[in-house]
């Protein structure tokens, strides 16, 4: 049976409304996307929805109490909250450099959590 639905693309700020038709695990039709990235997004969204995860991690002895972090690649949607739980248990010592790996293989996903900000030592 063919199912039809609209998916709003989240790759860029335009947010194309993409019409898709699926039949089981088959994608029969994709329309309304303004670029190729839309097709990739729809494929992922239908069969394996993922999101980039951005949050923050506690810093000990830093000029800021937190360092912002991101996932090294988009994480499976259903794992978001278990990953967040692990991140909340984590703290790092200053200094932290942007790009530094904070957690490896977070929640057994093979994905890393990476600092997106440089946090120097607290000067006091």
């Amino acid at each position: 049976m063919t199912n039809e639905r609209n998916i709003t693309c989240i790759v860029c700020p335009i947010g194309c409304k993409i019409l898709i038709k699926t039949n089981g695990m088959r994608l029969e039709h994709v329309g309304g996307n303004k670029c190729k990235k839309g097709i990739e997004y729809v494929k992922s969204e239908v069969f394996d929805p993922r999101r980039m995860l951005t949050t923050s991690v506690l810093v000990n002895g830093g000029e800021w109490p937190l360092v912002s972090v991101k996932s090294s690649k988009p994480v499976p949607k259903e794992k978001l909250f278990s990953i967040l739980k692990e991140i909340k248990r984590t703290a790092v010592n200053a200094p932290v450099k942007s790009g530094q790996k904070i957690i490896r293989n977070v929640a057994n996903t093979d994905i890393s959590i990476i600092a997106t900000k440089t946090v120097k030592n607290n000067k006091i």
Binding site: T8, C9, I10, V11, C12, P13, I14, G15, K17, R51, M52, T54, T55, S56, L58, W64, P65, L66, S68, V69, K70, K77, L84, S98, T116, K117, T118
Partner: protein, 425 residues
């Protein structure tokens, strides 16, 4: 108390002074330096550069500019590094008090009072969030009412949770992003209340910040009352009609401890107003020509104090042009062939930047439409002649539209406005 005579006055001068060290100011300063300005000074009142970028920890920055999706802090660090490399004189914790028609800037910091003579000034002061008092929400005045950006700074910079059970009024991008952020940090986001029949933030943020977490959005609704003695205890929401009047009988009380406001942004232009620079009442930003020059010669404007942008990519691109023009000091007031065409938004168009065209040739216009539409046509018309006709498969007020036009020589003799209109196909 400091006696007046002990305040040190420091005299200096610069080719280009950029006021504000956020994304627009950084881009303008770098571009001014690259365009040949020798001494570029960047002034910011905060202890860091990058403006609000460090608190925007979500990603999506830089996609249009570089093809890479960065988080706010990453994007900021890239630009900050460049300002250091290029030898831009960045002065943090420095507050500009005023500047005059001769482009003499008065600024203050811990070292004393600065008098800086600038050949060109670039305004990049950014914007402020609308508060409860901009929309006059009746009720008590308890704690627990924050603008979305303040809540964002609390959570992402200072590790402070603003509350547990949250209602968000307004569906601007910061509000949507905060809905997800609060959810990540364990708060209950009870819903987003939007007065319009559509979201004012970007479609992708509605999907990945609300829909993903089943956060409801109440369209055509507003908050009509706030109750609470010490802390917010409940808010009343109600449906509104097409004339924006509350439909009585639709009031619903929602228990919560926090109300976030995402009501839109107002360009910050106190410094410009004080010196008599014209402010456009549609954008809240300064009136500019196609070179981003304000009505005061030698003073340029960019970033959110010019118009509120939806992405940093487009903002930075315009700011780079403003910085370049400031370095070259292109002035509209060229005595010989002075033209002055007013650009006005017509039917279906909320605003257009620039508001003035002062030289013939290629001009880039940015605009916003009044309401979401599908399959419409954009027309740029002067003297009954169509300079541009562009089909728009879709148009959304949340997405700024950019078009290039060519202003032909015969327009020189016109006394008419250049009009931008949108109609249905």
């Amino acid at each position: 108390m400091i006696e007046p005579e002990v305040i040190k006055v420091i005299d200096s001068s610069a080719d280009v002074v950029v006021i504000g060290g956020g994304p627009a100011g950084l881009a303008a300063a770098i571009s001014a330096k690259e365009s040949g300005a020798e001494h570029v000074v960047l002034l910011d009142r905060n202890s860091w550069l990058g403006g609000i970028l460090p608190q925007c920890i979500h990603d999506g920055f830089g996609v249009e500019e570089t093809g890479i999706s960065m988080t706010g802090p990453e994007y900021a660090e890239k630009y900050i590094e460049m300002t250091e490399k290029k030898g831009i004189d960045a002065m943090k914790e420095t507050m500009v008090l005023q500047f005059n028609e001769k482009r003499e800037i008065t600024a203050v910091n811990k070292n004393g009072l600065y008098k800086i003579k600038a050949k060109s000034i670039v305004l990049a002061m950014g914007c402020r969030e609308k508060t409860r008092w901009n929309v006059m929400i009746p009720g008590d005045r308890p704690s627990g009412i924050y603008t979305a950006g303040v809540a964002q700074a609390f959570i992402n910079l200072y590790n402070i949770m603003p509350g547990k059970n949250v209602i968000i009024l307004g569906s601007g991008d910061v509000g949507l992003i905060m809905a997800r952020r609060l959810k990540f940090e364990g708060a209950n986001v009870l819903g987003v209340v939007e007065i319009l029949p559509y979201a004012s933030g970007l479609p992708r943020n509605v999907v990945q910040c609300l829909d993903d977490y089943n956060i409801p959005i109440f369209f055509n609704h507003t908050v009509t009352c706030i109750d609470g003695r010490e802390r917010v205890e409940q808010v009343t929401i109600a449906q509104i009609d097409e004339k924006m009047n509350v439909i009585s009988g639709t009031e619903k009380k929602i228990e919560c401890d926090t109300l976030l406001l995402s009501l839109g942004l107002i360009p910050e232009n106190e410094l410009a107003k004080n010196v008599g620079i014209e402010i456009n009442n549609l954008t809240g930003g300064t009136t500019v020509n196609q070179y981003f020059e304000t009505t005061l010669p030698g003073v340029f404007a960019c970033g959110n104090c010019l118009q509120v942008y939806d992405t940093v990519d487009v903002l930075a691109n315009d700011a780079k042009n403003a910085g370049k023009n400031a370095a070259n000091n292109l002035t509209i007031q060229k005595k010989d062939k002075k033209i002055f065409i007013k650009v006005v938004p017509g039917m279906g168009v909320r605003y257009v930047v620039p508001q003035i065209i002062s030289e013939l040739g290629k001009v880039h216009l940015t605009l916003r439409v009044e309401k979401p539409r599908e399959s419409s046509v954009l027309h740029v018309i002067v003297d009954g002649k169509e300079l541009l006709r562009k089909r728009l498969p879709w148009a959304n007020p949340a997405n700024m539209i950019g078009v290039d036009i060519d202003v032909p020589p015969e327009t020189m003799t016109t006394s008419h406005n250049l009009e931008v209109i949108l109609d249905d196909q």
